[in-house]
């Protein structure tokens, strides 16, 4: 489903701030793979996801989604394949527009925008049903502005929007990090439910090692622009956080605590 071949990315090349954020990352994901990604601050996790999403172009290497080479496509043209939820809850919705307007735009992800109606009656009924499934009471507030929602509600809505038209690939960049623990747990459960029900291929960054072990069928740890550890389902099945820390120290030769890793 996703094939990444040896991508590299250097920010501000040739300056004092030069930063090699990705140093030749390769990754193959099968359909329905749910990969969790962990790693310390600045490891290159977000850079990897942003490279896939096309927020910037990579310096070398290839990105292929479902057989389509998207390496040279701009962000908005990759959107037809990719659903995204961001870390900042404000990023995922147009806050001055209503919930239903936001959803109607998500429904048209990857399609060209025409002079047809922005939202139809039939779509509204459909959105009401979707929102009902979220069980947050949003189905009664569909014409409220998205900016009025709480952080957790927004992330749930963004998740729904990202998956409404089934994406080839779902990218989640610490999408629960800005939420309080209880809300984060709920959003994560919802994420799992949607990924399972829709049989999505997903890549999820988290800072929570327990979550990373618990969810998904594959776990990757990034470090200094490389994928350091890549565990398949059977390998991570009975793993504890402490095992993971030991593996990291062995593979990187660094101490996990020294590496500013916010590990829980």
């Amino acid at each position: 489903m996703l094939k990444i071949e040896n991508i590299t990315k250097t920010f501000s090349p040739g300056t004092a701030n030069e930063k090699r954020a990705l140093k030749g990352v390769s990754l193959h994901m099968k359909p329905k793979d749910f990969v969790t990604v962990i790693g310390g601050n600045g490891a290159g996790k977000s850079t990897l996801l942003n490279a896939i999403a096309g927020i910037f172009s990579v310096d070398s290497g290839k990105i292929i989604i479902d057989g389509n080479d998207v390496t040279k496509l701009p962000e908005h043209q990759r959107a037809q394949y990719i659903g995204r939820v961001f870390q900042d809850p404000r990023m995922g919705t147009a806050t001055d527009m209503t919930i239903e307007e936001n959803m109607s735009m998500a429904l048209r992800r990857g399609k060209s925008r025409t002079l047809r109606k922005g939202i139809t009656k039939k779509e509204k009924d459909m959105f009401r049903e979707y929102l009902h499934m979220l069980d947050l009471g949003l189905e009664n507030r569909m014409s409220a502005k998205a900016g009025l929602l709480s952080g957790g509600q927004r992330q749930a809505l963004t998740l729904l929007m990202a998956t409404m038209t089934k994406p080839k690939l779902l990218l989640l960049d610490e999408h629960t990090a800005a939420l309080d623990p209880k809300t984060a747990k709920k959003v994560l459960e919802l994420t799992k439910k949607i990924i399972e029900e829709e049989q999505l291929t997903a890549l999820m960054i988290t800072h929570n090692m327990k979550d990373a072990l618990k969810h998904g069928n594959r776990l990757m740890m990034m470090h200094e622009g490389n994928i350091l550890i890549d565990l398949q389902e059977e390998q991570k099945a009975n793993l504890q956080v402490t095992d993971l820390l030991k593996m990291f120290e062995k593979a990187s030769g660094a101490s996990a605590t020294n590496d500013r890793m916010l590990l829980v």
Binding site: I82, S104, K117, G137
Partner: protein, 328 residues
């Protein structure tokens, strides 16, 4: 006592309303960039006289005034396209892109007119259709203004209810989000700028025909007039939906003219003070939300003292997922 004797004469009153209606087209253009696209577009000060110059030039060369007015809109569209190109393709900051086009347009407008002022004496204009029916210039302007404002509101309302309109609105509101949903935000920014400047040139064309001349200097201060109309309108008449905002902006434009007319006629200001007045009015309007908030806080504090036992809940974003916050 007659209100007119105190504030302004009936003729100024109706004149101000007519002008406010015609200028509301400019205000709606400014609304599109300033509010919808979140883009402070100074192209306005060039595309307004551009519309005037083109309309005057074409009328003087014998074109039907309606055709001349539409051609003027086309030129405005191009001006917006250039600002959009500078901003999105050449990555020049929005404010600067507008300034560059505005400055360049000054020379272009002079080229089009051939001189600094182009009178339209005894020429047919879009207003003569009405004055031929026996209306005064003011009355004709009022009818024309109402028709134009209503048509523009309806068209914009229709446009901003389409898929494309949603995409333009989202581009101004949250470009990251709408790009992630597959929209080319550069293209939407350009569309918005073209639409806005077409309207502003239309306003220029109408005002030139109302005033009976096009002048190269008539763009100065138009951005302030546009913004003042937008902000007065939104503060007083609300901004919940696009169509509501557009209606508010038209009302704001009329109110702005009334304020200026009253100041000029009964408060001893001179026509040359107009620009200063515009700026003061806008500065006051811009500070209104802050003043309103301060006022509310003082009122709330007083109420709190009265019923200090009831602590109002300040939680807005930290309500739990399920609970939600009461709709504001």
């Amino acid at each position: 006592m007659n209100i007119f004797t105190y504030i302004m004469s009936p003729s100024s009153f109706f004149g101000a309303i007519s002008q406010g209606l015609l200028w509301s087209v400019l205000a709606m253009g400014v609304y599109i960039t300033y509010r919808i696209l979140d883009f402070a577009d100074l192209t306005t000060e060039g595309s307004f006289p551009l519309g005037a110059a083109v309309a005057a030039k074409y009328i003087l060369s014998g074109y039907n005034p309606i055709a001349a007015t539409f051609i003027a809109m086309g030129y405005g569209l191009l001006a917006g396209l250039i600002t959009g190109f500078l901003n999105t393709k050449l990555k020049i900051p929005g404010l600067l892109s507008g300034i560059l086009v505005m400055t360049g347009l000054y020379s272009i407008n002079l080229r089009i007119m051939g001189k600094a002022n182009l009178p339209l004496l005894k020429q047919p204009t879009v207003l003569t259709f009405f004055s031929d029916m026996g209306m005064t210039n003011t009355r004709a302007a009022m009818i024309l203004g109402i028709i134009t404002a209503v048509v523009v509101i309806l068209l914009l309302w229709a446009l901003f209810s389409t898929e494309l309109g949603f995409a333009i609105r989202a581009t101004g509101n949250n470009p990251h989000m709408i790009r992630a949903l597959g929209v080319n935000t550069d293209f939407m920014t350009m569309l918005g700028l073209m639409l806005s400047n077409a309207l502003i040139s239309l306003a220029g064309a109408l005002i030139a025909q109302y005033n009976g001349f096009a002048d190269v200097g008539m763009g100065t201060g138009t951005i302030v007039i546009g913004l003042a109309s937008v902000i007065i309108g939104e503060v007083l008449f609300g901004r919940t939906t696009v169509v509501r905002s557009l209606f508010s902006v038209v009302c704001g434009s009329i109110l702005y003219r009334l304020i200026i007319a009253a100041a000029l006629e009964r408060r001893g200001f001179q026509p040359t003070d107009l620009k200063l007045l515009s700026s003061i009015v806008l500065a006051v309007c811009l500070s209104l939300p802050l003043v309103k908030e301060k006022y509310n806080r003082i009122v709330n504090r007083k109420n709190k003292v009265k019923e200090s036992s009831q602590e109002p809940s300040l939680t807005k974003d930290d309500t739990l997922l399920k609970g939600g916050n009461p709709s504001c």
